[in-house]
Amino acid sequence: MSYAIGKAIQRKEAWDKVTGKAKYTDDLPGLDVLSARLLTSTCAHGVIRRLDISKALGVRGVKAVLTGADCPELFGPLVLDRPALARDVVRYAGEPVALVVAQDEPTAELAVRLIEVEYEPLPAVLTPSQALAEGAALVHRQPNGYKKVVPDVYPKAGTNIASHYRVQKGDAQKALAECDFVVRQRFSLPPSYHIAMEVRTARAEISADGNVVITTSSQSPYGVRKQLSEAFLIPAGQIQVKVPFVGGGFGGKAPVFLEILALLASRSVGGKAVRLTIPREQDMASAPSRIGLEADIKLGANRDGKIQAAEITYWLDCGAYADISPYMAKAAAVDCTGPYHIEHLSCDSYCVYTNHTFATSYRSFAHESFTFCIERAVDLLAKQCGVDPLEFRIRNAIRPGSFTPTQVAVTESLVGNLTQCLQQVKELSQWDGGKGVFIKEDTVRAKGVACLWKTENPPTDAVSGALITFNPDGSVNLHTGVVEMGSGGQTNLAQILAEKLKMDPGQVHVVMPVDTRTAPEHWKTVASMTEYMAGHAVMRAADDLLAQLRRNGAEALQCPMEEIEVANGRVFSRKNPDRFIPFRDIVQGYRSPQRESLGEPVLGRGGFMLKGLSLLDPQTGKGKTGPSWTVGAQVVEVEVNVKTFTYRILSASTVMNVGKVINPELMRSMIAGGMSMGVSMASREAAVYDEQGIVRAPNLRTYKLLHIGQEPDYRVGFVETPEQDSPYGVRSYSEHGIIGIPAALANALSAAFGRELCLLPLTPERIWKAIREEPK
């Protein structure tokens, strides 16, 4: 019998959110809170020749104006390469240059407009190709001179390379020479934005005795504590980080960014509380965005349509600062081929500095970008081989007996069953061979398919934890360090706990806000690892709780502990279930009818640390970076007008190997949400820069997301090949819905227009241009 797993229970925060009562960082009332505003660079790369803050300081109500000179520290999760405020040099348009702290926001904004800056422009590099060209301007004079936080980042002196990873197995060059069919394709994909509904915001306060309180819209409360502690030499115990609800993160709130500035601001005014909320334009141009990517892919197959070899180069455009991008380059290397059985492989993945806004994790950690390239190349190769692209993928699907690019031996538990996903999506999408069909004059319908896979790239020693306490009615409270940002992790954890305790999930209350003082450390709410990492911690905490309940039960019922069962909110002896004690009478110890105190109050605790992961071998790339993989197959159907190059997206389907369906409705909506984000990004989103490297129109008037009313029909199917090592077999799933969608869209549009479209975003104008410029 299932108590909670597989049930479509409502999200735990549903009522708070639909009634508008959920509180976010900037909703929290603040009496006596000062406001801060940023002045940002209008130059992509340049020397700050003059910075005059005197007029701003003269504005009544201004408390402090900070510049780079006030903060010598450098920041970053992997290498310390980023100043809080530009020092002497600006490296992207939008980079914070000065910070005004004032009695209120209008005053701060007025003062910001009075700061005078003069830049002496330096040559800007705006793409990885430009940045790697002979004689290119250097974004950082000494990229290898920065302090590393982790060992496996490899900046190269005298270049713009922030890191490089190499993966090699077999002999790709030789194997390609022997292939019957070979395709080669280059790609250049622009950066884009996260556009969480809630813009980034943070506030800071320092007490008279030096305790720092940060309230922030962050996916990494513990990362905030760590980076602030290390940079400012504040003992970690003196830093308290609070995260209420987060209005969407998508990876963009994993970096530590505004928290640093808010702390500097508070420090400059004697520790008074300061809030820093950036307007949407700065949330786009100044805060970290999604990577751009250039790629060169060569794939070869033999006569019977089996992929033999791949040569792949990825150049990730990480913008002006490294942030987490070197690890995205690593992640791109680890999963470089897509989920296919390929024996001979050579892949180089570079993380390249440019004068773009610096990049950070974005839903699926670069997989949405490189998967576009590899899945387009796979489609091209399938066409060359004359095989239906979906059948071609089944033929080449990774399976037990294969090895991943970094030479991990594939098992069903580890990687799941891609073939089954493909077979199921074939039915779900009513696959018809992937060829365009005229339905009336000038109007063609077509479908495109793409696969997805992803493993994680956490630190090899990342941790999570869970605490469980009881209420007098026998319901439980679950405390974790997981941030609720819409991804449903807390609800899944409640279901995992309810199942383990054999109780109604309605009796599990989840503590939503995170406070680093009270919640056990959870690495970060990223990488869709909540169910795996926090799930393990919850299972252990539940085991701990159950053991204590059994001990109390044994004393209360006077029988051996082995005979005690716990289910349905009761403690009872297996031999005589009619004699039971409800939770409310036993969770705080037991009082016998004779008023004798028995047992002890019950408190569950569980911790979890990742095990068995490794760094990649620098020569071959051999190694295992994440606990397991999630695979899936996706199909997009379009209807295009071949005359106007406009199109509609009719449907998007995903079949994903989720391991175990914890909550069908929640999982469906998360996967549909991923598809929606993929459709939006691939069809219309790009950060557009002018020739000087100034981002054009960073606002929502012109940067359009997919809106309600234009959504296609989303179809979701599940495959339940369990991951043996995970709670109830569940796999990471919450970000993955995006991964194959851009490629499936491009494959569909290529079929519909009868031309190979290898670009993003796929706007009618860009399609028109590509087809006009391509020789027939």
Partner: protein, 279 residues
């Protein structure tokens, strides 16, 4: 957030509005006439304008008119796009109003604001250009009513302090066969890549366009070509595209070349419609 204070002034009569403007101008307050506020609020927030005062026209009765008499349709300048749309009195204008911004904003943006604002598309002007509309203005000499085209050449050319009171559309145009197509970059609710409005009146196709060039236009030369019976449809379109009154516009939403291409495909579709009967 608008980071500065400004005076809010809400006159009840046209005279008071004009006097307030003159007074505030003299005091160096840089006053703006205010109706729906969507442009003033967003531009003040972005720092591109800094009005010291706004004069809200929404309480002036003459500016609120929405009525039809035996000769003309009268539309007050502060009627919202949604009011104009829902009145259903001028179907072509209703189509234009229904494709500007989203419903929430259509309930705030006014006809006058769309015509007199700085956002360059001014799509409500297209039906007015086609319908031989006239406008009533209030300024230094009091009221004056003039042909729309005499004060609109892609943007409103008003005297200092003058404001739009009403728009008048001859009845004849209201029910004429018409055509309206707006193509955006991708998203349905967006500025136009190209919007074309057409009206079939007196056996003649009238065409006006927004988005294509820096400013909206109606061109006699272009209409002559589009109505040339001796030319094939393809030739008419080709020649019409060569007759742009200004260079095609180029910005982050679309290149000049692409805008011309879109214009061409829209004209082709339009002429296709015309050959199948009067729109």
């Amino acid at each position: 957030m608008i980071p500065f204070d400004f005076i809010y002034c809400r006159p009840d009569t046209m005279e008071d509005a004009y006097q307030a403007f003159v007074q505030l101008q003299t005091e160096g307050k840089n006053p703006y006439y205010y109706a729906g506020g969507s442009e003033i609020i967003t531009m003040a927030r972005a720092g591109s304008i800094r009005p010291g005062a706004v004069i809200d026209l929404k309480q002036i009765p003459q500016c609120r008119v929405l009525s039809l008499d035996s000769e003309e349709l009268h539309l007050g300048s502060v009627c919202t796009l949604n009011e104009v749309k829902e009145s259903k009195l001028f179907p072509l204008l209703a189509l234009a109003c229904g494709r500007i911004a989203d419903h929430t904003n259509q309930c705030r943006i006014t006809l006058g604001g769309n015509l007199c604002g700085t956002i360059r598309y001014r799509e409500t002007c297209l039906p007015l250009l086609l319908a031989d509309a006239s406008v009533t203005l209030f300024g230094r000499q009091g009221l004056r009513t003039v042909p729309f085209t005499s004060v609109f050449d892609g943007r409103m050319r008003l005297d200092a302090g003058e404001f739009l009171v009403q728009v008048h559309v001859p009845r004849k145009a209201l029910q004429a066969p018409h055509y309206h197509i707006k193509q955006t970059a991708s998203e349905k609710i967006d500025y136009p890549m190209v919007t074309v409005a057409a009206l079939w009146q007196d056996h003649f196709l009238r065409v006006a366009c927004s988005g294509l060039c820096a400013e909206p236009f109606r061109s006699a030369e272009m209409e002559a070509v589009l109505n040339a019976q001796n030319l094939s449809g393809a030739d008419r379109v080709r020649k019409a595209v060569e007759l742009l009154p200004q260079p095609a516009y180029d910005d982050v939403e679309g290149s000049a070349e692409y805008r011309k291409f879109v214009f061409q495909t829209i004209l082709e579709a339009l002429l296709e419609e015309v050959t199948h009967g009067p729109l």
